[in-house]
Symmetry: C2
Subunit: 262 residues, 2 copies
DNA sequence: GCCAGACGACTGGTCAGACCAGTTGATCTT
DNA sequence: AAGATCAACTGGTCTGACCAGTCGTCTGGC
């Protein structure tokens, strides 16, 4: 370890300078920071290649395990991807939303005080998506939404899987039409979490009726979007979600969902 | 590498079984997954301790570097924290919003239209927090909010750091009063990301005026919360955020923020 | 001339063993 | 009993090795 200049406190000025408690910064951390800085700063655009590990060892003057731990950190942040045997070195991926939805998924999994919270959160996000989408959507968006609603209706009796896929597509298009990628990502992650949480509870008995009501709801929302009536679309979206999920939520939690209805 | 049972395809039934292309799963990945599963599943609650690395080496039957890379991944996800010399082993932290705000920060840093999107998203989340908090808050919440507003006002001319800390506290209390932990965590993460994104842009010239306006906004919101007027509190919250951040957002992106004003 | 296959020089993934600096708690000293 | 000492840990880092892939090249046969 020859290049250690972290604890350098060479402020030559005498007097009552106050020193910060120097907390040790791990070597792998500084390696990771340097590389991340290069990526985020645009120095290493997506698609670029990092030097091979053994080359990084030379450049950073650290051991290979240190370099590897740094690369692991970057990889788990989704910034790079490495493949064994690749003579070009690790590939720079740039910033992707995957990491964000991963973090969100973890949050929902651990901090879940119940389905009610999750559904309530989804009601908020979806409603806001509708509100924004109503005033920002393009004609193309409407066409795609209509097609998705048709597809939902088409597989209403017997294909719940395709139905739920079309449903997810509908919400995704709306979220993207809202013009806010962040909102779209969160909505998508929460949607996935909801689906995962309830997929076991869905007994297929009155599923057909359920699906039909869902289609009707989506049609109403679509009409509101077409009319650029954001407020109405948002309210409809909230109601639709309430209708779907309220029966699956424990009695005493249902008041939370009602609170989100406004 | 003695415990390798990933590629096991011992389905004894003959016939036209279709095999999946087996993609290699790294050892450190499986180690990390196992530990993460234990944490998220509640088996290892926050505050619990992981076995020492050398003990994990024994239990997982892998090399120490593999264990260490797995721990690095978990650490960079904010799930654990390790300290050199700690005889108790790495500490389980549980899921925190820090990782989410980190991802958000990266996303805004790389994505150019980031700040407007981020602020818009914060407007939505905060507004919904206000709406819910207005009808769910307790008397204690109001007292704490009042105290925080006072503290903000107290350090208005000369202590921007404490000011922004009190501000963060205010928003956190509101988010928690909304009764939705998911919403609170996301709002907190977005708040942190916004603060980090703009901290460099904040020239301290008209900072005092800025802070004074902020205090007034918070007082108004507090009054609306006290009156259980969720709709009004939400609108006030949106306006406050617009006022603060619109000047920092590029001209052509400002329309997005306006759209979120309703 | 061209294409298939062997070869070798890489790559990342993993392991083993070692050393260091820091923490801790028991033991010894005063 | 309070303080210094020490040994047994811990995590952080380095080194060197091996393996299984990947790929460019080289060589053989067609």
């Amino acid at each position: 370890m020859s290049a250690d200049s972290a604890g350098d406190v060479t402020g030559g000025t005498a007097g009552h300078v106050s020193f910060q408690p120097v907390r040790p910064v791990r070597a792998y951390q500084r390696v990771a920071e340097q590389i991340e800085e290069r990526i985020l700063g645009g120095d290493l655009p997506p698609g670029a290649r990092l030097p091979a590990e053994r080359e990084l060892v030379r450049q950073f003057a650290v051991g290979r395990s240190t370099v590897r731990e740094a690369l692991r950190v970057l990889q788990s942040s989704g910034l790079i991807r490495s493949r064994p045997g690749d003579p070009l070195g690790a590939e720079v991926l740039g910033v992707s939303p995957d990491n964000l939805s991963e973090a969100l998924t973890r949050l929902t999994r651990s901090h879940l005080s119940g389905l009610a919270e999750l559904v309530q959160f989804r009601m908020l996000l979806d409603a806001e998506s509708y509100r924004l989408a109503a005033r920002l959507h393009t004609g193309d968006d409407l066409i795609r939404l209509e097609a998705l609603a048709d597809r939902m209706e088409a597989c209403v009796p017997a294909d719940p899987h395709a139905f739920s896929e079309a449903d997810a597509g509908f919400h995704r298009v709306v979220a993207e039409a809202s013009g806010n990628a962040l909102l779209a990502l969160c909505a998508r992650a929460v949607h996935a979490a909801v689906v995962e949480a309830i997929e076991s509870k869905l007994v297929g008995d009155d599923a057909a009726d359920w699906m039909r009501r869902s289609v009707a709801h989506h049609r109403h929302i679509l009409a509101a979007l077409r009319g650029a009536d954001g407020r109405s679309a948002a309210a409809l979206g909230r109601e639709a979600l309430y209708d779907y999920y309220a029966p699956l939520v424990p009695e005493q939690d249902r008041i939370r969902l009602k609170a989100a209805l406004d």
